[in-house]
Symmetry: C2
Subunit: 347 residues, 2 copies
DNA sequence: TAGAATCAATTTATCGATTTACCAATAATT
DNA sequence: AATTATTGGTAAATCGATAAATTGATTCTA
């Protein structure tokens, strides 16, 4: 015996009043609509008693609002994105919004599909780490005046709010730091990607090398969900460049993957090569020696992103000015990149 | 100028036919409804041309179906859950289902709230790692014949499909293994939790110690999103039990957190203590010495879970038999728990 | 005292789809 | 000849809410 869920009509019938009245009362418009105190109380009491909850689907269909925010990350299994998602979810929840998230896999088609789904589920706002190829879809959302905030990467050609970090500066600083320590053959192992943040990381590295008249050693590996397909190209690269004295990894996945390869090849850190990786990670902190990392301010990224979106949702006025935030990353100096660490490791 | 989205009525009007006909054609019921080939083609062509997509919200309101699966994990930032979520999402996507996930934080109230949200957004099925306290809400879903699959933990009193691993057996085996290697003062550091899986892990440990007439050393720490609040009690425990010769950690978070504490206290692994942790993790593989871990078959858990749910969704017949799956975990032997590792470390 | 305003709700339209019930014309069956 | 099926669709009801328009009784205003 399935207990059919109550609808507003059932409530109205049971109380012998109109459903509109019920609706007004439940939406706090009783005073405005001059509905008697007595009736208001009677309705609220009854609603509470039977545990009636309005069907939010029908509500959304009518109002166009859902109190849901769509969050699209590259891969929810990546700790960087998972942590951001987590933080955003918390803040949103406390502000009465629910989050639904999904992974784009950096696949433009899948992303388009997901945007469409979000859209016709009437999500109130969009937080997206967009893959290359969805520029038009983002533009479309903006044209229709929907609140969008991008993060981690952005589209230079599109006037849309975003929160990113200063990637170029970070790898520049990291590379400079290695150069200062006397390293000369510094490699950059990164993901094959045209996204702004990945390009900027590469550019920062190149800029530092150029300024110091050093040769770049760049290896771009194709992304693969399965780590073993990324290990091989890295291993090949390292075998073919035995004289490297430092490596910068472009992401945490590449970094952890690279560490495994290095361990397998019996390359010693920092005696044989110094290491710096983008993104901090438990592994980098616990590894021996600990790995110097470019830590992105995860909480700050998340906080800025959700704040911008919430303010857009608040202001009924469709404010045209898009907020663009670039945060500074933090270079966490650890043993893997320090010359004196070499000494202590030898001793 | 906002380009208003097309509705089925617009399509019907433009073609001078009834919206019903359009609906039938788009839902593949043209043949059944004896609609002429010619008209079918005309409609399909036009729909494609203008890029019309039915509003899924309205569709859901009418049909009660959404092709969306709700996935509730404890914490999406935990790699164990993130990976399961990822895998489930992939499989679901390939089967025409979208996933919306969220974190329960093991908070019964929040979970109840989220279940309600899923419910009135008309998700077609539920995959839940349930916190203690939502037994009745799960029972309610089942009573209303909604497809539910639990994973990671379950409720012994409720007849509901689930996929879990043999937690008791795993910690039993791990503990036995340590005992065989000659360890006598074996501690179990775990999360304070009444969930079945955490209880089973504890029970496996206790059982092994009992059978070997050894004393248990148990430390339960309260969960906290912020790792530092978990480090302190662990540190205190270790300081007060300097004579321990082995430690088993109950989860990967406790494990990585514990490793940091151990590093800070300058306790050597495995010379001072042997270590085994539940759940595998990059850190455990890369740590030096590498950490023995009880690896849960993440892909298998995810595959079983989503398969059960999909089969429930497929069979229009509400099959009453709930599927209950218990998978075996894999003890990955590494340096941190091996006596011979001690030797090689000393040498 | 006619007309306007207020009161306290109600009736009806609407969101955008699906589903049920029905129709009129012709063909087939009893 | 009367009934039933088939054909190719359409009109109206429905899902569960909100929003706009309306109502009938009373009270205020000019």
């Amino acid at each position: 015996m399935i207990k059919k869920k109550l609808s507003i009509v059932d409530i109205a019938n049971k109380l012998n009043i109109s459903k509109t009245t019920v609706s007004f009362i439940l939406n706090g418009r009783a005073r405005e609509k001059r509905i008697s105190e007595e009736l208001v109380e009677r309705v609220l009491k009854f609603v509470k008693e039977v545990g009636y909850k309005p069907n939010s689907l029908a509500k959304s269909l009518r109002t166009g609002k859902s109190h849901i925010i769509g969050l699209m990350v590259e891969n929810i299994a990546d700790p960087f994105f998972a942590n951001i998602a987590r933080y955003i979810e918390d803040r949103a929840y406390k502000n009465g919004y629910r989050i639904i998230y999904c992974s784009t896999d950096n696949d433009a088609d899948k992303t388009r599909d997901l945007i469409a789904m979000f859209r016709d589920r009437h999500v109130d706002g969009y937080i997206i780490a967009p893959p290359v190829g969805v520029e038009e879809d983002i533009a479309e959302l903006l044209k229709d005046d929907l609140p969008v905030v991008l993060f981690d990467r952005y589209f230079p050609g599109i006037d849309c709010s975003y929160v990113v970090t200063d990637n170029l500066d970070s790898t520049y600083t990291a590379t400079e730091y290695l150069v200062e320590q006397g390293y000369k053959k510094i490699a950059f192992i990164t993901l094959e990607s045209h996204q702004t943040q990945m390009q900027a990381r590469l550019d920062g590295y190149k800029k530092a090398l150029e300024q110091n008249n050093l040769n770049p050693y760049i290896k771009e590996v194709a992304f693969n969900q399965d780590v073993k397909y990324m290990s091989e190209p890295i291993a090949d690269f390292l075998k073919n460049n035995k004289d490297l004295d430092a490596i910068i990894f472009g992401t945490n996945r590449i970094g952890t993957c690279g560490l495994k390869v290095i361990q397998n090849l019996d390359i010693r850190i920092p005696d044989d090569v110094a290491i710096i990786s983008f993104d901090d990670h438990d592994v980098f902190e616990l590894y021996s020696p600990s790995i110097t990392a470019i830590a992105q301010p995860v909480e700050e990224i998340a906080a800025n992103t959700i704040n911008i979106l919430l303010s857009k949702l608040d202001s009924s006025t469709s404010n045209i000015d898009q907020k663009k935030v670039t945060l500074q990353n933090d270079l966490i100096y650890r043993g893997s990149s320090q010359v004196n660490a070499k000494l202590s490791a030898v001793k």
